[in-house]
Structure formats: structure tokens, C-alpha cells
């Protein structure tokens, strides 16, 4: 019985040590685990100054301009925005107001030159009719707000 208790104590202590080690490891990885930077983080200089990195946010409504296979659009995190230029095929889910992750580098004139654009969809799943109804309700709310 006593050796069993000892064993449990050793295992509990071992797990506690591992948890601490993992926490420290994660803390040091924190900066490397970032898949993309938001426009605000880029503005604050948190993104790499040289070489490739990814930016992410929402495609600003009304910002998509096509010029042959060249596409210009603006990525926003609702605080800051970044202009992006990309040449190539866009994923089907690339839409205004939806999530996007673009990989590339900062151009000389502040425009982000992307060599890959990925669409980031959210965690909502519903039939198209339900989405329409939601949108209508939101529009109704918005106009009602203006009247007041």
C-alpha cells in the first residue's frame, strides 16, 4: 500500500513538472506560433521587417479591384487597414467582408505584395435562407437606428 502511494506521488509530481515545462516551452514558442499578423500588429512593427510573412483580417467591403489577373484589395482588422496586390487564382470563398490570409512581403510603397491568398472561413454553419434572414434583420436594425 505504501509503495503504491509513493508511486502515485511520483507520477503526480512528474506530471506537474511536465506541465511547468510545457508552459515555459509554449511561452517561448508564442512568437513563432503566429500564423499571421493583423494590420494593427504590422503597424506596430511586430511583423518581420524583411522577408515573407502572412497578414490576416477581413477583406474590406468594396475594396476589391480586378485588373486582368491582378487583384487589389484591402485587409482590415476594423482598426487598421493594409492594401494588398495579388496576381493569380483566388479561392472560391474569397469575398468582401470575409476572412483572408495573404502571404508575401511589404512592397516599397506600403502595398503588401502577396504570392499566396487563402480564405479563412468562420465557425458559423447555417442554410442560405437563415443567413439571408439574419442579414435582413441586421439591415432592418441599422435603418431603424438611423430613423431614431
Amino acid at each position: 500500500m505504501k509503495s503504491r502511494h509513493k508511486r502515485i506521488a511520483i507520477i503526480v509530481a512528474g506530471i506537474a513538472l511536465l506541465a511547468i515545462a510545457a508552459t515555459l516551452l509554449l511561452q517561448s514558442f508564442q512568437s513563432n506560433l503566429v500564423f499571421f499578423f493583423s494590420p494593427t500588429e504590422v503597424a506596430e512593427g511586430k511583423s518581420p521587417q524583411q522577408g515573407n510573412f502572412r497578414i490576416g483580417g477581413l477583406v474590406e467591403a468594396g475594396s476589391i479591384k480586378r485588373n486582368g489577373t491582378e487583384v487589389h484589395f484591402t485587409v482590415t482588422d476594423t482598426i487598421k487597414t493594409m492594401d494588398v496586390v495579388y496576381t493569380g487564382i483566388l479561392p472560391d470563398l474569397f469575398k468582401e467582408g470575409k476572412g483572408v490570409v495573404a502571404q508575401g512581403k511589404q512592397g516599397p510603397n506600403g502595398v503588401f505584395i502577396a504570392d499566396q491568398v487563402l480564405a479563412k472561413h468562420d465557425e458559423n454553419y447555417m442554410p442560405p435562407e437563415a443567413a439571408d434572414a439574419l442579414e435582413k434583420a441586421q439591415q432592418y436594425k441599422a435603418t431603424a437606428g438611423e430613423v431614431k
Binding site: R4, R7, I8, I11, G14, I15, L18, A19, A22, L26, Q30, L33, V34, F35, F36, F37, S38, G56, L90, P91, D92, L93, F94, K95, K98, V101, Q116, V117, L118, A119, K120, H121, D122, E123, N124, Y125, M126, P127, P128, E129, A130, A131, D132
Partner: protein
Amino acid sequence: MNLFKYSSPQTFYPLAGKLIPWLAAGAAILIVYGLYIGLLVAPTDFQQGDAYRIIYVHVPAAWFSMFLYVVMAGYAILGLTLNAKLSYMMAKSIAPTGAMFTFVALVTGAFWGKPTWGAWWVWDARLTSELILLFLYIGYMSLQAAIDDTRRSDRASAILAIVGVINVPIIYFSVKWWNTLHQGSSINLTSSPSMAAIILKAMLIMALGFWLYSVAVILIRVRREIEDRERNTAWLNEFKE
């Protein structure tokens, strides 16, 4: 009734044998029913169209890849603390099914990522940590197989299983802690699910089906393990006659 009645191979062996057909039948019915609702009854999605339907396999498979690992580590702890041989056999029997679900989650995820994100694979925190989970399962099974002495292989692999369990919360919370391309959780404990009721229903039926399947397959594997390890005992030989 003695709580530990079924914790010895001798009593567990016939019980598992009786349960397996029922579990297998239940799994088959639930998976067929879940796929029927998911693929034929549930509506298309407002942004992903029909492409989202892989969710009915992807999400339950990913849940069980993590859940089975935690259960495996639980049995490893029981084995180390109580020195219970059946616990080690359970842990060993869970690993292949957990690895299979991890593989399924990764592959279905790739097939889902290509049409929606525009990429088969990205090295974001969710995908990378799930890949590490697959390596942990493979490492566990390799270590089990590499040591001939069962007592030593059980203990060594149990320690690996327990160490690796730290990866499970990392997978689960990765989409919350870091910027990932992978979506956030549609279902969590603190808010109502952000999916239509019928989509959720089909997904939960599939998950239940995967659960019964897992238990059935694990019990079959445990019985083979008992037959192997207890082959020289009187009770097993009596049982077979």
C-alpha cells in the same frame, strides 16, 4: 457488487465478448443514420455550399483522436499506479484506433482545406499540433512493439502516453490562443453552438457512432491481447474448451 469485478482479465474477457456484437450493431446504425441526415437531409451551408459536408466525418474523427488519447493516458496512469495488467492492455488496444482517427481527421481536413481555404496543408498551430498527436500515437505503438518484455514495454510506453497528454489541450485551445487559418470552435461549453440544429444533430449522431465503433474495436483488440498474454493460464484454456 464489487466495483473491481471486471478489472481482471478473467471476468472481463467473457463480458467484452458479449458486448461487442451490440456495440458494433449500434455503431453501424448510428453512422448510417448520421450520414443519411448529414449528406441528404441537412441543408447546404450559406458560405461553403456542399463542401462543408465533410464536417460530419472530420469533426467527430478529430474529437475522438483527442478523447481516445486522454483515455489511453488515463489507463496508462492506472497501470502505473495500481499495477493493473488489464489497464495496460486497454491502453495498448486504444492506440491504433486513436491513430486511425487522427489520420482520418488530417486527411479529411486536407480535402476540406483545398476547396475552402485554397491549400491542402498549412503549418498553423491547429494542424501542426494534430500532426504531433499522430506522431505521439505512432511513437507509443513503436515503443510498445520495440521492447520484448511486456512488463517493461507496458511501463515505458505508459510514460510516453502520459507525457504526450499535454498536447491535447494545446490542440483544443490552439485556435483560441494563436492566430490560425483553421476556424475557431463551433461548439463549446460557454456559448450556444454556432451551427444550425440539424447540422449539429447529424454531427452528434456521427460522434456517437464513432464512439460505439471505438469501444467495439478496442474490446476486440483487448480480447486478442488477453488471449496472447494469458495463454498459459488454466482459466483461458478452460474457457476455450
